[in-house]
Subunit: 217 residues, 4 copies
């Protein structure tokens, strides 16, 4: 509707640069709203390009979103692998993984949403690349939990899938409460709380008294 659109700048990027830019903007917008509320014209506007250019590089809006999600997951996994082997002990590894999940999901809650709600219900989801990526991501937590059960450090009276859902479900709820502006939340405190409850609730032996990770009052 504006009479004179702002003059185009930064024209003529290489395809790779252009694709990166579009995905970056889209990712940011996904942090702000859900899939349905993302509008291609706004993506184009924010990139300073025309809508048509988006369709030069992406087959559809959905395709764009899927690729954004994949990229995101790949980043997560990359970061995650750096610390994978440095942390020892079930409890610490649990806390570390929860912490990382919280941190990463906090940065991109709508992306989580998109993957969890939109993509997973897609009939062809299981054959999508992102399916593998997502399994890898949540699989890490499951792996730790499974190992704990196998070594006897955890009881076996609660399914691992339930524990995993307590963790990720809690993370999401925290995120959304936070997003609605109904109070801040600390990644540290939440990671401590979740891992403590899970660990203490599942451990077979009394752990040594914990000195750190206490809520002050």
């Amino acid at each position: 509707m504006p009479h004179s659109p702002p003059p185009r700048v930064r024209n003529r990027l290489s395809p790779d640069e252009r694709i990166s830019e579009i995905m970056a903007i889209t990712r940011q917008m996904l942090s702000e709203k859900g899939y349905e509320k993302i509008i291609t014209s706004e993506v184009a506007d924010r990139c300073g390009i025309s809508e048509a250019t988006i369709y030069k590089y992406f087959a559809s809006k959905r395709d764009l979103l899927v690729r954004v999600a994949e990229q995101w997951f790949e980043e997560i996994l990359a970061v995650d692998d750096q610390h994978a082997t440095t942390t020892k002990g079930i409890r610490d590894r649990l806390r570390r993984l929860v912490w990382e999940s919280l941190a990463v999901v906090r940065k991109e809650p709508s992306l989580t949403r998109f993957v969890l709600m939109e993509l997973r219900s897609d009939p062809s989801y299981r054959s999508m690349h992102i399916y593998t990526l997502n399994r890898k991501f949540t699989g890490k937590i499951s792996a730790v939990l499974n190992q704990a059960v196998k070594t006897g450090e955890f009881r076996n009276d609660v399914p691992v899938s339930l524990l995993r859902d307590m963790i990720f479900g809690c993370i999401e709820h925290q995120i959304w409460t936070f997003l609605r502006g109904e109070g801040d939340f600390s990644v540290d405190l939440a990671a401590d709380g979740i891992s403590n409850v899970i660990y203490r609730g599942m451990a077979t032996t009394r752990p040594a008294p914990e000195s750190q990770n206490q809520v002050s009052a």
Copy 2:
């Protein structure tokens, strides 16, 4: 040539019946898709009426959805109150409440979604009737948890809000996994698992060995 439109039988119902029918259909559709994906013309089609009829009884699509959500909450609370006083002991009350939440949310997961995601972000949410209903619902769990902390039966090193999110977040995740057809889930097992983990993870004293509520293997 398009098939001649299905001969609409002038289907006269009393307002109450019609309203009930519309709400029932909408409720069912809400189980299948989110708010954005619900289309008034489809609601009308499924009811075998015209769109205009919907607007005879509901001011807007949003109004319809809100009323569906309210009705749902009222049902929950009604059921819930029946057992409110019969159960004693923190652990049992926790399990009972989790069980009821699971049962009820399982029946209408998208409704939960709608309330949690769409309505809660509405600026006027806090002045809506459903706000009160929702608080009453989640408040029950919070009340039990708070009491446990106050009496010293629970530690105080984890915020109650985090515990509540673990419970409801887990419930939601279970639901969605179930909805996507990735496996059934037992309300009983999940209720046991959640309440056990929370209770054991938070209890200050070692409870007596529990004989019931075990997962066999």
Copy 3:
């Protein structure tokens, strides 16, 4: 949308009473808004009857409006005729007619509008009963003006149709300004002003100094 419509009262009127009531309500609504903004359901509501009943007595919304307009004109003419012969002298008769037009149009400005804007542009307008009525109404002013010209009391350098439009156009403008709440207006003052300007502007001889009908300052 109301769940329980206010219980119907005053049922079972005779056709004539019912028709009168519907027309009265419609007339009142025409005073408030224009033709397009009149909604049959609101007419029915205000009458405390159902929309269907309206269609028992009137073929269409337009038919209803036309009959309201006719009724209105007939009333005007009836009142008007009472004074027709009692007033003597061009100037006084002019003032009297302008005064009456103002008074009557002020009471029903939207009706004027409806007749002037909606009906007159109807292709079949000239064959409608209201056409005759309307001509009779405006014709009175024209008659006085024509007579004044014929007797030489008025110049003949300005078409009577123009004078008539100055009068009725002014009346309408006054009405609308008033309706928009941009200030009250006095039927007396306006009638004096209009008739004075017209008379003085058209009279061939200097009239005797006027003692009455002066604006104080």
Copy 4:
């Protein structure tokens, strides 16, 4: 079977041209019907474009109409200003202004209607650009009349607002009569008639006998 839709020629125009075209068509339609009767789809059809294209350039139907009205007023004022200073004397300036109003309003009577009836009743009217434009327009006549009263050339026994309404009301009536095809009208004759009646009806001194501006018989 319905005729296959006219093969829409992909008709590319520059934004300015397209906007001009849409406004021109709309303006013409406004000459034929009122605001309520203007239908976006018809505007689109007449332009040979789709409705969506209209909304590319105008935020809403109302926005379109307002901009048409503004454009129109600006044209009026531009023309008007050319002669503003050249004419001397109350009587001649009055005639000139009335003449211009007639000429301009005659070209776009429905636009006048739209501004007078629709926009003026808008709560935010006073803050709209067109409000200023409109005031400028009608203000010119008021200014001349006020000055005449102040200098004593006019009596002060009739409110200027009433005179202004006689002028504009008469203009509108003439226009509408003309539009309804009930006879042509001459801008010259009408301007002479109106200004003569007003002037002679209000002047304090007998003006010198006028030789020009007479209706021949």
